[in-house]
């Protein structure tokens, strides 16, 4: 029995609310009291499809409060298209909460920059709220393709974040990449948390290195199981990382790194421990 045995389970829920935040961006609130209670910031769930025949979809847990958790997703393929067809009252099951979330146990003060790109926003509301509740200053750097896709930014402002935005097309905020906006900020944070597309994460990691700011990245890769059972979602990690999976300490395939499972050892890693 694993340590999280009491917290992680299959939840048979139903849809409480459904909002189209933008074309092809859906926010789905579901009734799942236990998930709401046990979710830690940065964890995700595997959301099962009504019809079966395809793997569940990995989605960050966006909100977790009272009896409700929510998922925010971008319709980009068959499975998210299928989820987008759900209506209020429809049944929906998921398993979770999964993964280790952001590594925030020791963060009780300071000044945190949260960098979110596109759908990455879905994994950073809970960390933002948790940090603010602890009295930490949170600046959100939020980039998207266009103004229309900068969904739900107001929620972060309401939560007490200082919100900085960028768009690829210049239709709102800074015209360019969000990592460039972060790089050009006069202020140096004490910690960076980031979630978004891989190029954005790499750029953010570079900013962290240059400015000597410890940086946590929530990585994305195609998932199958979401629980460490298939080894499909790996990222190369230094063997000395506390997150490195148990593996022979000798050279393997001529390499001194080890492939860690993003779903099980992550999804959040320290940028300086990645060897990607």
């Amino acid at each position: 029995m694993t340590a999280h045995a009491m917290q992680r389970r299959v939840h048979d829920a139903h849809v409480l609310d459904r909002t189209e935040l933008a074309p092809d961006v859906v926010l789905l609130g579901v009734h799942a009291p236990e998930a709401a209670r046990f979710t830690k910031p940065g964890q995700f769930a595997m959301v099962m499809l009504p019809g079966g025949e395809n793997a569940a979809v990995a989605l960050g847990i966006y909100e977790a409060h009272g009896d409700r958790v929510s998922f925010m997703f971008f319709v980009c393929g068959k499975r998210t298209h299928d989820l987008a067809r759900l209506h209020i009252g429809d049944r929906i099951s998921f398993y979770g909460p999964l993964g280790n979330g952001f590594l925030l146990d020791d963060v009780h003060s300071g000044d945190v920059a949260i960098v979110a790109g596109g759908v990455g926003i879905a994994s950073v509301l809970l960390p933002a709220q948790a940090l603010i509740a602890r009295g930490v200053t949170v600046r959100l750097y939020y980039g998207a393709r266009s103004a229309e896709r900068l969904v739900d930014a107001q929620r972060f402002a309401d939560a007490g974040c200082e919100v900085h935005t960028s768009t690829d097309d210049g239709s709102h905020g800074y015209h360019g990449y969000i990592s460039d906006l972060l790089a050009s900020a006069s202020h140096t944070p004490t910690l960076i948390l980031a979630c978004g597309p891989t190029p954005m994460l790499r750029a953010t990691a570079r900013v962290g290195t240059e400015r000597h700011v410890p940086t946590q990245l929530s990585l994305e890769e195609t998932f199958a199981c979401g629980v460490g059972g298939c080894w499909g979602c790996v990222v190369p990690l230094t063997r000395t990382s506390a997150q490195a999976p148990s593996f022979p300490p000798i050279e393997c395939d001529g390499s001194d790194v080890v492939n860690a499972r993003i779903c099980a050892e992550g999804p959040v890693f320290w940028a300086h421990e990645l060897r990607w």
Partner: protein, 317 residues
């Protein structure tokens, strides 16, 4: 009426005919919070090799219509580390585990088999001679009757534990390979491993998988797998562990009726981790509806030329 779901794979008796597929289910502990593990007759472990392997570059997975492609590339810590650090833990598990062995040369298999099979924690050995994801090398064994014969014979010599040989669907005549494996001493056959496939990213203009090609699994391949079981069951007398796209009790029953003595569930665990539980419940219901007392009574029922007399003999014991 209570129904009897026990089946035998060689000398191995399983409480239920539903196993989880190699490489798909870790050690079982990854999933145990989500279902009643008594619905898993045994966990077939991820394939282990002689040397440690980092596996393939990412992406290793692509979702496809009713299925997925994977190209993990046999990431594993190698047999030495595995024996020292992993195998001992299996003794504490309340479910049976079946070891899986992969290799790149005939004596890799024999070496790893022998060392793994010697451990009491391991209930049986499956040899994966059909992995499509290791630069063509791995697969050649199950695609060539001559190599199949050699590998199986040498693995057989190393152990008395039940020896399961996992076959590839990527051949012109799977029944012919099955016959060779049987003659070389296999106690059972796992049918089928994944089907070779590929997907292309039209924006990046290159194959989606780091390894270029991968293995297709999931409901998409079920009709291919059912036919393979049907054909192999007519060709050999040893038990078959059917797999490929099993997601519901109906699917599992298709395989049993085609001639499989047990089934493995792989990809469907990712659609719903309760699938093994649902399948066991569904098989129970089906047998009760038909007033049958044992799952063994239906094995091969839809296969007129079913050669396997094994299950029925076993029944007398």
């Amino acid at each position: 009426m209570s129904v009897d779901l026990r089946v035998r794979i060689g000398t191995l008796e399983l409480p239920v005919p539903t196993l989880t597929a190699s490489g798909c289910y870790g050690y079982g502990t990854e999933f145990e919070d989500f279902l009643d593990m008594r619905s898993v007759g045994a966990v077939v472990l991820k394939s282990v090799t002689r040397k440690p392997r980092l596996g393939n570059a990412t992406p290793r997975l692509v979702h496809t219509p009713s299925g997925m492609l994977n190209a993990i590339g046999l990431q594993n810590p190698g047999i030495d580390w595995y024996l020292d650090h992993d195998v001992a833990k299996f003794a504490a598990l309340p479910w049976k585990v079946i070891g899986s062995v992969a290799g790149f040369a005939v004596d890799d298999y024999a070496y790893v088999c022998e060392r793994l099979a010697a451990r009491p924690e391991i209930a049986a050995i499956e040899i994966n001679i059909s992995c499509p994801n290791v630069a063509h090398e791995g697969e050649t064994f199950a695609c060539d009757p001559h190599l199949t014969e050699k590998v199986v014979r040498s693995a057989r010599a190393t152990t008395d534990k039940p020896l399961i040989v996992k076959l590839s669907p990527n051949v012109t005549d799977i029944a012919a390979i099955a016959r060779v494996a049987e003659a070389a001493g296999a106690d059972a056959l796992a049918v089928i491993n994944t089907v070779r496939g590929m997907a292309i990213d039209i924006d990046a203009r290159k194959p989606r998988l780091g390894n270029i090609t991968g293995g297709l699994s999931g409901p998409a391949i079920r009709p291919i797998a059912v036919l393979a079981v049907y054909e192999v069951a007519r060709a050999v007398k040893i038990p078959i562990i059917g797999q490929g796209g099993i997601e519901t009790a109906t699917d599992a029953l298709e395989f049993l009726l085609a001639g499989a003595s047990a089934v493995c569930i792989g990809t469907a665990n990712y659609a719903d981790p309760r699938v093994p539980e649902k399948i066991v419940a569904g098989i129970r219901e089906y047998l009760a509806r038909r007033n049958l007392r044992s799952v063994r009574q239906i094995i091969g029922e839809a296969n007129v030329g079913f050669a396997n007399s094994y299950q029925k003999e076993g029944d007398e014991g």
